[in-house]
């Protein structure tokens, strides 16, 4: 299959060897599980249980709220210990509503929705509803509700389901292991999704540094002529949705459009497996495979973890720390987010937990930019990071926006190559956040203005009505006076 060239990008030190040969092991059920109500893009879920309630594994404990949201399910049987504000696995370190389950150790499944033996005869909406009910989100890290993405099939004519097994982030091997160990499940999930989306073709893209995964997936897919397994060049950020679509089809997603507008929908391989479980067994998303790695971890592993397991339990399961980690990361080292606390739980989007040493990070204080242009050559989006950062440093956000900061995908390539170690990505993250906040503020101001206008209008109307009433009363009085006078006159 012909592949298309991607400009820019980098070739970081992949360091996948720490875990790539370690098979997926199941985590022992921790005593306490912490289920944040918001693990996804959109609105948080709404609790369905109260403190003290008994729940079974797979039981829905919070339902989705609004269009862009997903429900949460109990990953273990046990008792609801509390529902309270706890630290979220988020760079801000903010608290959020979290359901705490005390596991009873029995790991009993609740009564699940009936398995669907032949999903290909069902209409797409039924499949999408089941996926939505199972609480499935994009498991590559973005955690976008999967059913919403599958619903695109009902609105647009799609051609290709692109299954993303690129796993271009260093360290992470969870998708690699998943493809090697559960290839048939992934292929089945992909076929179900393709049916729901109405795409005649499935392409599974895997970076060439995972030959065994390519081989296994190839074998698993060989029975289906509509599935193609393609090895793609090792180049970060190959796994970025838009870039992968470009590499596979040569089509460039226009700014502010979706890949679906080009007829391609991208899903992660782990998501496909979750869909398989939801449809074939009625099982909601309550576990995921997480790569625990990094120089500070004693025994790096790939672990099938119940959602809600605290990072500290996970680290303990891997033998604890060898040295004090310099940085804890939720996800891969390029696009992952810093973890503010070991107390934060694993959520649906957690692909990796990395405990990195100072040597691995190689972070230094920033020095002045020497305009070497490395960031410009590395940028896969054709931006000039050096200039955008200069605008943002001087708080000229509008200038940065004109330079295209909103088109930045925060892949981190520029920060990675920068010889001056300037925190370019953080400048861009800040600018994007601040511009979005300004936008929100502007919308709020507009809303305030319409409310004020409505009120003014109402007051004016009320005043007018009052005036009219006054006038009427006055007229009536005058009239009555007139009549009395007339009467008086008549009487005279």
């Amino acid at each position: 299959m012909k592949l298309f060239h991607l400009r820019g990008g980098i070739h970081p030190d992949y360091r996948k060897g720490q875990t790539s040969e370690k098979g997926i092991v199941a985590m022992t059920m921790p005593a306490m599980l912490y289920i944040p109500l918001q693990q996804h893009i959109g609105l948080p879920a709404e609790p369905l249980v109260r403190e003290g309630d008994l729940v079974k594994k797979g039981q829905m404990i919070a339902r989705s709220q609004g269009m862009l949201s997903v429900p949460q399910h109990a990953p273990a049987s046990g008792r609801i210990a509390a529902i309270k504000e706890l630290i979220a696995p988020h760079p801000s370190g903010l608290m959020q509503q979290t359901i705490i389950i005390e596991s009873d150790g029995k790991d009993e499944w609740a009564e699940l929705s009936a398995p669907i033996p032949d999903p290909f005869t069902l209409d797409p909406q039924t499949i999408n509803d089941r996926v939505a009910d199972a609480g499935i989100v994009g498991m590559g890290g973005a955690a976008f509700p999967s059913a919403v993405k599958l619903n695109l099939g009902l609105q647009k004519r799609l051609e290709i389901l692109l299954l993303n097994g690129a796993e271009c982030e260093p360290y992470l091997t969870c998708d690699d292991r998943l493809m090697r160990e559960h290839a048939t499940e992934i292929v089945d999930g992909a076929r179900i999704m393709a049916h729901a989306l109405g795409t005649p073709k499935i392409i599974i893209a895997i970076e060439n540094n995972k030959p065994q995964a390519i081989e296994t997936m190839h074998r698993a897919a060989s029975a289906h002529s509509d599935i193609k397994v393609v090895g793609v060049p090792v180049q970060y950020p190959m796994g970025s949705e838009r870039h992968l679509v470009q590499a596979m089809t040569g089509r460039e997603t226009p700014a502010r459009k979706l890949t679906a507008d080009l007829g391609v929908v991208v899903h992660n391989v782990a998501t496909a497996r979750a869909v398989h479980h939801a449809i074939r067994f009625g099982r909601p998303l309550v576990t995921r495979v997480v790569t625990v790695s990094g120089g500070a971890i004693r025994e790096p592993k790939n672990i099938e973890v119940p959602i809600g397991t605290r990072i500290t339990d996970l680290v303990e399961f891997c033998g604890g720390f060898v040295v004090r980690p310099e940085r804890l990361v939720n996800g891969g080292p390029m696009m992952g987010q810093p973890l503010s606390s070991l107390e934060a739980p694993v959520v649906k989007g957690t692909s990796g937990v990395l405990a990195l040493t100072a040597d691995e990070i190689n972070e230094r204080p920033a020095s002045p930019c020497i305009r070497c242009g490395s960031c410009v050559s590395a940028c896969p989006c054709g931006l000039l990071p050096v200039e955008m950062a200069a605008y943002i440093r001087k708080d000229n956000l509008e200038g940065a926006a004109k330079q295209g900061v909103m088109d930045c995908v925060s892949c981190g390539s520029c920060s990675w190559v920068c010889p001056s170690h300037i925190p370019l990505v953080q400048y861009f993250n800040y600018a994007k956040g601040a511009l979005n906040a300004q936008d929100r503020e502007r919308r709020k101001n507009e809303r305030v203005k319409t409310l004020v206008e409505a009120r003014t209008l109402r007051l004016e109307k009320a005043a007018e009505a009052k005036r009219a009433a006054d006038l009427a009363r006055k007229a009536a009085r005058e009239a009555s006076k007139a009549t009395t006078t007339a009467k008086d006159e008549a009487n005279v």
Partner: protein
């Protein structure tokens, strides 16, 4: 709560210091051979120039209240090295010191220090010296390798560099200068070229010229090393040398008596040093690849024009400086196309797959 630090949490093992050190390493063989060819006076001038640059850098950092640790970034050494490489080898010590003042204090720190200067410091230093002290800056000597008979001893060298002793006895002209002077006397290039050293000798540096620019082959080797190490990209060197060669060859073919050949232009003067080490200076050249090409073509074209038509025999420094002044404009207008957008910055039109297949 402390402010979180954003990713990536892995970085390339590089730094400004390493980058500069690699450039110095790439320069070493050529300069070492050149120092051998021009003997003790050259070694003294080289040391004085770099020393002065580092000292002035330190002074400026103190005045600007910046951490002296920045000194370790090797940038002052590189500036001094490149400027020394462009000086006549037997020039007196004060040439080096004055050049350092112009380069470091006035060109670099007056604009805000490393990364902020518009012009290449080494080339400003050289150019100011050339215009202010034309005699000292054009007193060339033929190579007299260390320890060879007739080469100045260490004490004689001290007299030459620090004592102001004139060097008339050994003066010689650069090949470019020679060709130019002869041309003004009405002697065609074809004839004056006959007396010039052959290209092989020129490639090995056996010709009069600046302190560190004559060994074309070793400079080329250093440049290729930088390309291999990805410190520089091919765009600027190829554009500079290519344009120079093209212009030379084209005009030589039209009138061999008036114009020197393309190969001669490439092998003489500061072509290689300029193309690989000076025009590629990060700070003063454009950041995008296309911008670099435009910049390189401009340097090559201007260098050829100045060499051929202007009053000075060598034009590399002027060409680089003139193009430096255009760098901000090049960066403004020549930029990569943003993903998903047209060159004008509008979102790309949505081309459906079907239409694409048809087209």
């Amino acid at each position: 709560m402390s402010t979180p630090i954003s990713g990536p949490f892995t970085h390339k093992a590089n730094s400004v210091q390493n980058t500069m050190a690699l450039v110095l390493l790439a320069l070493t063989p050529a300069t070492a051979f050149n120092l051998y060819l021009f003997g003790w006076p050259a070694i003294l001038l080289f040391t004085v120039t770099i020393g002065a640059c580092v000292l002035i850098e330190a002074l400026c950092l103190v005045l600007a209240k910046r951490p002296l640790s920045t000194l370790t970034d090797n940038s002052a050494v590189l500036t001094g090295w490149l400027m020394a490489a462009s000086l006549p080898p037997w020039a007196p010590w004060w040439i080096g010191v004055l050049g350092a003042v112009f380069a470091i204090a006035l060109t670099k720190h007056a604009f805000g220090g490393i990364g902020q200067n518009l012009f290449n410091p080494a080339m400003v230093g050289r150019t100011v010296l050339l215009i202010s002290f034309p005699v000292a800056m054009t007193s060339w000597v033929a190579p007299q390798p260390l320890f060879s008979p007739g080469a100045p001893s260490f004490s004689e060298a001290i007299a030459i560099t620090f004592g102001g002793q004139t060097v008339d006895a050994v003066s010689s002209a650069t090949t470019l200068g020679h060709v130019k002077t002869e041309l003004t006397r009405g002697i065609p290039v074809t004839e004056s070229m006959a007396q010039a050293p052959d290209l092989m000798d020129m490639a090995w540096g056996y010709r009069a010229g600046s302190l560190g620019e004559t060994v074309a082959l070793l400079i080329l080797a250093g440049g290729l090393f930088l390309l291999f190490k990805r410190i520089i990209s091919w765009h600027i060197p190829v554009a500079v040398i290519g344009t120079l060669f093209l212009m030379g060859t084209l005009f030589h073919a039209m009138d061999p008596a008036r114009y020197a050949s393309g190969m001669f232009h490439v092998m003489s003067g500061a072509t290689f040093l300029g193309a690989f080490f000076i025009a590629t200076d990060y700070v003063t050249s454009p950041v995008s690849k296309a911008g670099k090409l435009v910049f390189g073509i401009g340097v090559g074209l201007l260098a050829w024009l100045i060499r051929t038509f202007a009053g000075y025999p060598e034009g590399m420094a002027f060409a680089v400086l003139l193009m430096n002044s255009l760098t901000p404009i090049i960066d403004q207008y020549i930029r990569p196309r943003v993903f998903g957008r047209s060159r004008k910055g509008e979102p790309l039109p949505l081309k459906l797959a079907k239409e694409e297949e048809k087209s």
